[in-house]
Amino acid sequence: MAWNRHNRSDGLKGLVHLRAGARGNRVSRIGNRWIDFHQFASILHAIREQGFSASSRYISPMDASAYIPAVYPVNDFGPVMKGLVIGGLGIFHVFLAQFAIGGGFLIWWFEWLGLTGREPLADRVVSSVFRVLILLSFVVGALTGVGMWLTSIQVSPQTIGLMVDEFHWIWATEWIFFWLEMTAGYAFFRYRDILAPRARLALLAIYSIAGWGSLFWINGILSWQLTPGAWTETHSVWDGFFNPTFWPSLLFRTVACFVLAGLGAAIVINAMPGFTRDERTRIINRCSIFFLPMLSMPLLAGWFLEVIPADSRSWIMGGSMTMTMFLNIAAGASALIGGYAVIGLWRQRLSMNGATATLLAALALGATAGGEFVREGIRKPYTVREALFANATTPAQIASLRVSGVTAHDPYPLRNRADFPTEQLALGRVVYRNQCAICHTVSGTNGLTELMGGWSIEQKRLNVAKLQWTKGFMPPFAGTPSELEALVQYISWEYAERRAGWPESRDPAVFAQIARWLDEAGTAPAPRAQELAQRAESPR
């Protein structure tokens, strides 16, 4: 029998295991460190001598997953950047999920107010808001959640694969919380009228805690992507889970849940018929307690900024215009909501009509969008920091792919091969597909023809060879000099609107120059290389 041998830590840490024929019989091992390119090339040579094949059969003498990325078919999203697809869905899902989580607590609180006789209108509030919650969160919320998973597979199967490999028991635990949330939610929804008051409160408590629990679990996985912390060394699930940004982002998101619940309830209450103006104002003022935790947001944001990596911080502090802008949108929108809600409502001087509540909810959507964009953006050039680059290669794999080539392992032909007049242009397209398409399009959003079409051919070669230095949030180029040249020719050809008679570039001097630039650039990402350089320079 044969199966795919999967060796998680090898691929991630850059360990290379050599196996001689028999299962698990290690011949040699290179320690847990960044692999030197030349060393690696010689290892690769040795492996080839032993008859290595990239086949996934277990009997392979070498664990392929250590240095060859798993190759998947790549879909073309047309002019839409893949990040926008996952980001757009993510914003929508996070917004709904946070509303649902906060909404659970809000309804629980109103149920309590009603049962203790503090709020005579509580019963109506509970039934209306809960109906909206069930209709939204159990349908669109749940399916956009599954959608996040399926979209992640479409965008970067290697990333979600790594996350599943590391955290499947955490996800399985979260799944238990989904069941709890669903069972308690439907039980309350269907049987509220016949249940005893204490049972109703208990069901709502279970529903709310289970909802927040699912946030607790997923937050550990998502924050690990940005700050894997000690996991990088230990590979312990709990080191990864309780990573440096775990608590600030959990608390921040919890506050966001409360705010969204307050705003959502204000919209529903305004839309409900049968309340007098005074009644509406009173109920909405009761909801305003849910805005109060916003006061802690600046503090939590500061804590988050403090613990993220320095290079990530630099992107949002002016290093990247777009990311800085999105941070400002998130902060500005939150400040506006906070200003209005906390000062106005908490002091009970203002009411909130439907239009205002909707406007504030739209601002909250803007804040969520800004926040999620920043969260996604500052991970670059990684999807899992220190472990996996955005283009789905591990740091160790970059070195090997510079020898073997990124296209050599890709069994998928081009869909429209006839459109490419030369082998080189076709190769360039395959390189683009493997290396660039995750963050760029050819001429749509973040289009390469737009970004680099105007550069001279020399500039293109240099900037791609030293990709991580061209922009710090890009990964090092993972391919051979001839693949790099093919990519450059392909982009130039696209920029020239696919001009006929495009010549092949075969000058050995060009390839030699590219090889030198690739060597100069090294295989470490820019922030990491800077860190290493600083360490080397600092007095002992």
Binding site: A2, R8, Q154, G161, F167
Partner: protein, 389 residues
Amino acid sequence: MSALISIVLAVDPLVAVEATALDPAILDAAFLSTLPATTGFYLALAMVTLVVHVLFMNYAIAGTLYVAAAAVAGRYSGRSAMGSTGSLSMVVRDWLPSAVSAAITAGIAPLLFIQIVYQKAFYTANLLLFNRWMAILPVLIIAIYLMYLLKAKHLVTTRATKAAVGVGAAALMVYVTLAFVENHLVSLAPSSWPSMYESSASMLGSALLWLRLGMWTAGAFPLFCAIAAWQLVRGAGGAGENECAAAARTLARLALVGGAISLACLVGCAFKSDAFAASTTSIAGRPYAIVACLGACVAAGAWTVILVRQRLPRALVAAACTGSLLVVAGMTVVREVHRLAQLSGTDGAPREVPFGGGFAVFVLFAAIGLGVIAWIVRTVARSLPPTAP
């Protein structure tokens, strides 16, 4: 008709690749015994959780089809005044959105474990299907809202709109089923992946696809009928003895006809796919195929007696439920034997995975979770008005 015949006789894009031969080591040994322990453990979990998914999913597929048919036939709303279908369709309509939610929630666990064991095959199939696969999300959202619409008496009033909403929801559910079936079949054909990618071809010309769809769709009825019978017996929607008696014949017919069509499609699959036939009769698959056959006999026997007696005695409903569950469990294993044997040694082979951290925490919360869910069920059951004996 001739088009249909040509599909059945043509070289099937999904079968042609089976020539890559099954792994005899898998077929000739006890199921799971050939896998590394961790892989076997994850695969077992994937199968157990898949059975739970199938339980709810069968209710969702067959329930929607049944409600759509009832709406088209005009036997839609009301209770006993509308006769047997009225009461049954009311209970089913009432529970459909919850059943789909449960199917989705239950689907998450096999989705997780499948990704561990068959990462490459599952992801590649997802990617090759692309839009057709991703469409299941909006399709499911619309389907569930249509199901809620079916419950809203004041919004959907005329017979035509009821029929349109019902048929719409049913068509969407069948689409979702089709997408899962296509995804599974594509994942079984690694040697065809590059050519499938190149041509962006769909598998809609594959007879195997349609036979398998028929197997799943018609095969959803026996379990659905058993659960619906159980609901009526327990007094759901206020059903009493009259409603149970009135629904008995409909349910028995649906279950028997659905089971027979499903069996016919299964035999068709075996004719079309040597690999499927060989896996079912192999040393690894045979014991589980026998369990499924026994289950089918028990369920068919129970439904036949129900059909004759036109009543829903609890013992017979329990037998029908147990029988159908045995069929689902047995066929889930046979399905896996086929996948293992077909993918072994290919690019989509199952992976040897290290055991992940956090298992103890999962077990702890699973125990707490089960306890809490049991408490919820008990609390609700105690609050319900007593049902007629």
